[in-house]
Amino acid sequence: MTEFAEIWSYLSETPLLWLAATLGAYVVGDGLSRASGRKPYVNPVLIAVVILAAILWASGTPYATYFEGAQFVHFMLGPATVALAAPLYANLSHVRRVALPLIAALLAGSITAILSALGIAWALGVRGETLLSLAPKSATAPVALGISEQIGGSPTLTAVLVILTGIIGAIVVTPLLNLLRIRDWRARGFAVGVAAHGIGTARAFQVNETAGAFAGIGMGLNAILTAILAPLVAGWISAL
């Protein structure tokens, strides 16, 4: 027993344990996703998060301790975003050809995401800071948190709403667009990138390279558009 305590005290002081646990949980999540034939509801992010949250809860480990190890994985989000330049460049001729549909879909998707979220929440009785925190939820996390703070929302709440939006988008996109019989990979990818940022983009890359490239474009453009639209809509709500 003392041996276990000693080993545990060593492990809990280095980033090794939680870095390994993060990769291990993802390997399980990705393996299950692959075994299911990439069924949309078998989402690797969701599975890995549930496994890790259960381990943290069972071992009484605070998130800050976990993040000391997991930060190395989290850090790679930056370089991965820059790396989206490669599929974007490879699809540049497609992008030029569909510039008009792209801009129209960006405006329609972004405005729908903000207004419908606020409208539904408002109808269900959500008001004030909580309502404002909802406005930027379709934008990629760093942008959404900045916007939330700026318009008087709660950045912590927005962080939760952003991640949940990404997971919801990644799960619903395939069955939804199959149901609507929209088969164009560019349209499918772009729409999920606009509505569900990086997690939607990750799902798009699992399905199709072109969809992934367009999702990356959608995510980047909607980050900019939401930064412009959300403060306008927030000002309009405050005036109500």
């Binding site: 993060t22 993802y26 992010v45 890995a48 998060v49 890790l52 998130y63 993040f67 997991a70 930060q71 989000l77 930056g78 370089p79 991965a80 975003t81 989206l84 330049a85 490669a86 008009l100 549909p101 329609a108 998707g109 972004s110 729908t112 995401a113 903000i114 419908s116 979220a117 539904i120 929440a121 269900l124 009785g125 959500v126 909802l134 939820k137 942008v143 912590t156 709440l157 962080a159 939760v160 949940l164 939006t165 997971i167 919801i168 996109v173 609507l180 929209i182 164009d184 349209a187 772009f190 606009v194 509505a195 569900a196 997690i199 983009t201 990750a202 990356g216 980047g220 980050a223 900019i224």
Partner: protein, 116 residues
């Protein structure tokens, strides 16, 4: 591989510095992305040599969201009594935004000639 990673980090760094210096509302990595596309246009050979590293990183983009996702579990309490309405708003608006975005894309493409 190492050179490619260094290039990605350099473009991210340049993006972060630009975003802060000009106080732009866009995150640094997104500016880095745009700058790297311009670099690919200027030096066409660069895209080819970057492809394996970028492809490897993006194939497991899902993994990179796991740490933030775990953080969210601890904060699910902030949803509070409003949890139900907020969840319904997220599901409803995400479904609508994806359907409208994809529908408008396909519709406008048909209207503008639908060149495949």
């Amino acid at each position: 591989m190492i050179l490619n990673l260094a290039l990605l980090l350099l473009f991210q760094l340049a993006g972060e510095v630009t975003a802060r210096a000009l106080s732009l509302p866009v995150p640094g990595p997104v500016i880095g992305l745009a700058a790297l596309v311009l670099a690919f246009l200027a030096v066409p050979g660069l895209a080819g040599r970057m492809q394996p590293t970028a492809g490897g990183l993006l194939a497991h983009l899902s993994l990179l969201f796991v740490p933030a996702g775990v953080g969210v579990v601890g904060h699910l309490g902030v949803l509070g009594a409003q949890g139900g309405p907020l969840l319904l708003a997220l599901i409803g608006s995400t479904v609508l935004a994806i359907a409208v975005g994809a529908g408008v894309f396909v519709g406008v493409q048909r209207l503008t000639g639908g060149a495949e």
